[in-house]
Symmetry: C2
Subunit: 476 residues, 2 copies
């Protein structure tokens, strides 16, 4: 019996997003594309919210151009992107016409596989983008954001998977952004989803807690046929299980990937050199950090919190904040902690600790959340907290985007002085201020990417790490 | 059904040996011993060849005193050591009376579990030390050095395990020093050893290649009930799977260890601070390096080779050396690559490449090897190479130590001017020159440990890493 396992390599997106603050430049991707393209990966993940953001904000590259270049350089391998459902690659809900336009343009420029998730696991926030992908003729992968809570049991996740199957998704992804999925839970979950949907299951698990390779192995034994890994040079720690290791682990078994280690090593050797160029974005600690298994607070969130606390001169209150996060999450009905809910919960927890009284101050995001503006919470919302947040303001129960009228025309007219294409309008739609500035500078030929410190600077002289404190860490 | 899994934590020996060149000092172990002692580990590995060597050579600590102190600080947890069979902790075969004395003194000073291996997997080199352990009333763990070659199949390893069981070993260890054991091979191997011996199987696998956690999981499913892990602060990479991660992976399953993550985190937090003190011994790269899966040359050997080649100004010939190693190993009848065979094979491979003709020069160690002085090779020796090495010199087929007459009296008289105890004589026996100097300086109260660079030096000013180039890397 053979049950060949397929691999999605993440080095062009989640790998460098997790380890060097999403800073890898297109010029460092293209030279290795021919070799990547020859491996026979199920897909190469190469596009998403943070790469789009980093292109516009720091690298001064047009993200649409990157996509088109990669498409050309990877003629034989599907390109995969991560899409935040109705949020697309931005931080708010968009009108349906923007969602449709964005998906169509992404497909036109080269995306073959769309992995679609919603931070609330609210299926209504995913339906329009899934429909649009199907209409474009591309592959729709519905992603379940994995988390643990009293309401997140197997039947809960199976219901989500069934809903995604009903939407016509081609595959189901289990998205374990925090590394909380244990091998035994993965076995149970994959078995249940396979039984309920019959769809291929694609497993994405961060290596943060040291569980991911075991988790993927047990997911495979339960019938997951596609796994996300990253070539060794950008693997492990906050990133993902090592591609070569998973290939070696499965070689000669019924799950053999058919991929040759020698071919992977050529790619790994290339990226080992590339990684050195970005030394200034490295974290101090790149190993396994199992603390997430205790606090259930993902590593990326802790980095953000520690920056927030540092700004307030209150780094010593981290323990209180870590204890407050589960309480805020419970009050909010146990949302998974992933962009943007990770920021919503984290910021409110910081405020609850620093202001010396829970919910004495409440963020706008929590107010919107309590109004139902992010969708339906997985569990029950604490009504006392909701009263404090929004008193008698209306709570919506419809899909949030139902209240947003079409906005492409408006966006088009707002940016028509600088936009030269539909893609430009969508860039502006994702990042209004930043996008406008980017387009203006592009038109004026004054785009200037941030400076990379020379490699030599690392070993001679000052070696304080320039970890990207200013960058909002996303969870993905 | 419960099949509780037991854990040996390696932080006091293999963890720091693998990551900071065996430099951890006793003063940094003792403060955390009470907490380590309370976890309920099956054992704590704390003593071995490299720790003994580093104590005498660099730290200027009496290794016997370290053992006695740890024994006192760990009243409830068995202390485990790694012993190279007839080599003990040195680099030659010793007479049986030295083996017996060394084992007895180790037991007297605190060792409860002796893991015994031989680089050739020649059981005759392990029998006397196993007998001595049994006689001391302590636990004897017979270790199989895992490797891959045309002669190393499952029946071969099962024969070894049976032999160890016949010697009266209490447990069988699978010692995967290079990280070559795949999950599926582990499943097969553990199943076969369990069926053939009925003894508990203890799995030791380095995380170098990214396989070890998966390998241990499958070993457990096949019936391995004891696994070697290391607390997160000194885990992964050249070291071992993370203790917390394996505990979390097994929690709630039939293999639940019963260990609490909160308790482990207190220990991890302590060692995270300790590791910073030793920053000068860190390797540049601490992640997964799957290249060993292709070259089959363990990472520690590559470090040694690279130092040897650097000295000769021939670092550019590494690829040729890596290609030559499997050929030399084949000529020598496929010994496992572990101390001392890793050095024997590696040095000859370097010479074969640099002198421009294979075996134009032959090391003394290869000559001794060809005479049978290290024991019986697992496979057939290349007779043409043997002729070149030793022409018509005698080849022994007996156990090498059969030709060594008792030597304790001789050693005693050689060192009686400075030795103050049986332990001192044994220190001298392990390291004649170094040991004598150590004892003399100790008597004169002039022992001076090597200097640790201050932690501040890391982030201010020069940050060239002071990786311990002078230290002979052992494979373990
Ligand atoms: Co991710
Ligand atoms: Co070892």
């Amino acid at each position: 019996m053979t049950n060949k396992v397929f691999i999605t390599d993440l080095v062009l997106r989640d790998g460098h997003q997790s380890l060097i603050a999403t800073r890898m430049r297109t010029e460092h991707m293209l030279p290795i594309c021919a070799k990547l393209d020859n491996i026979g990966f199920w897909s190469l993940e190469a596009w998403g919210g943070a790469t789009f953001d980093a292109c516009v904000r720091f690298l001064k590259e047009d993200p649409w151009e990157r996509l088109a270049k990669l498409r050309k350089a990877l003629p034989n391998t599907p390109i995969q992107m991560l899409l935040r459902g109705q949020n697309l690659l931005g931080y708010r809900h968009y009108a349906d016409d923007v969602v449709r336009a964005f998906v169509q343009k992404s497909a036109d420029n080269g995306v073959d596989v769309f992995r679609i998730f919603d931070a609330m696991n609210d299926l209504r926030n995913m339906q329009v983008s899934i429909d649009a992908v199907k209409k474009s003729g591309k592959m729709a992968e519905g992603a379940i954001s994995y988390t643990t809570s009293p309401v997140h049991d197997i039947p809960h996740f199976v219901e989500l998977a069934k809903g995604l199957a009903n939407f016509g998704c081609d595959t189901i992804a289990i998205k374990d952004m925090a590394g909380l999925l244990t091998p035994s839970a993965a076995f149970e979950l994959v078995t249940a989803i396979r039984a309920a949907t019959g769809l291929p299951v694609h497993t994405h698990s961060h290596a943060t807690s040291g569980l991911a390779s075991m988790t993927q192995l047990k997911a495979i034994e339960a019938g997951s046929t596609i796994i996300d890994t990253c070539i060794s040079a950008f693997a492990e720690g906050a990133s993902h299980p090592t591609t070569e290791s998973m290939v070696a682990a499965l070689a000669g078994t019924q799950y053999d990937t058919g991929i040759k280690l020698d071919d992977l090593e050529e790619i790994a050797a290339y990226f080992r050199e590339i990684r050195k160029i970005y030394w200034q974005y490295e974290s101090k600690f790149t190993g396994v950090d199992p603390r997430v298994l205790i606090s259930q607070v993902p590593g990326g969130m802790i980095s953000n919190l520690s920056n927030q606390l540092k700004e307030q001169g209150a780094l010593d209150r981290m323990d209180e904040v870590l204890a407050e996060i589960p309480r805020v999450r419970e009050d909010l009905g146990y949302p998974p902690l992933v962009t943007p809910t990770s920021q919503i919960v984290g910021s409110q927890a910081v405020i609850n600790v620093l202001t010396g009284g829970r919910y004495k101050t409440i963020t706008n995001e929590v107010k919107l959340y309590m109004q139902g503006r992010y969708g339906k919470a997985p569990g029950k919302i604490n009504e006392a907290v909701r009263d404090m947040a929004i008193s008698d303001q209306e709570v919506i129960t419809c899909r949030p985007a139902d209240l947003i009228t079409d906005e492409m025309d408006k966006l088009r007219s707002e940016i028509e002085d600088v936009a030269k294409s539909e893609e430009d309008i969508l860039t502006y739609a994702m990042f209004p201020d930043l996008g406008r500035t980017f387009l203006q500078e592009r038109n004026a030929h004054t785009l200037t990417p941030e400076t990379l410190l020379p490699i030599e600077a690392k070993s001679s002289g000052d070696c304080t790490r320039f970890a990207a404190d200013e960058f909002r860490v996303t969870l993905h």
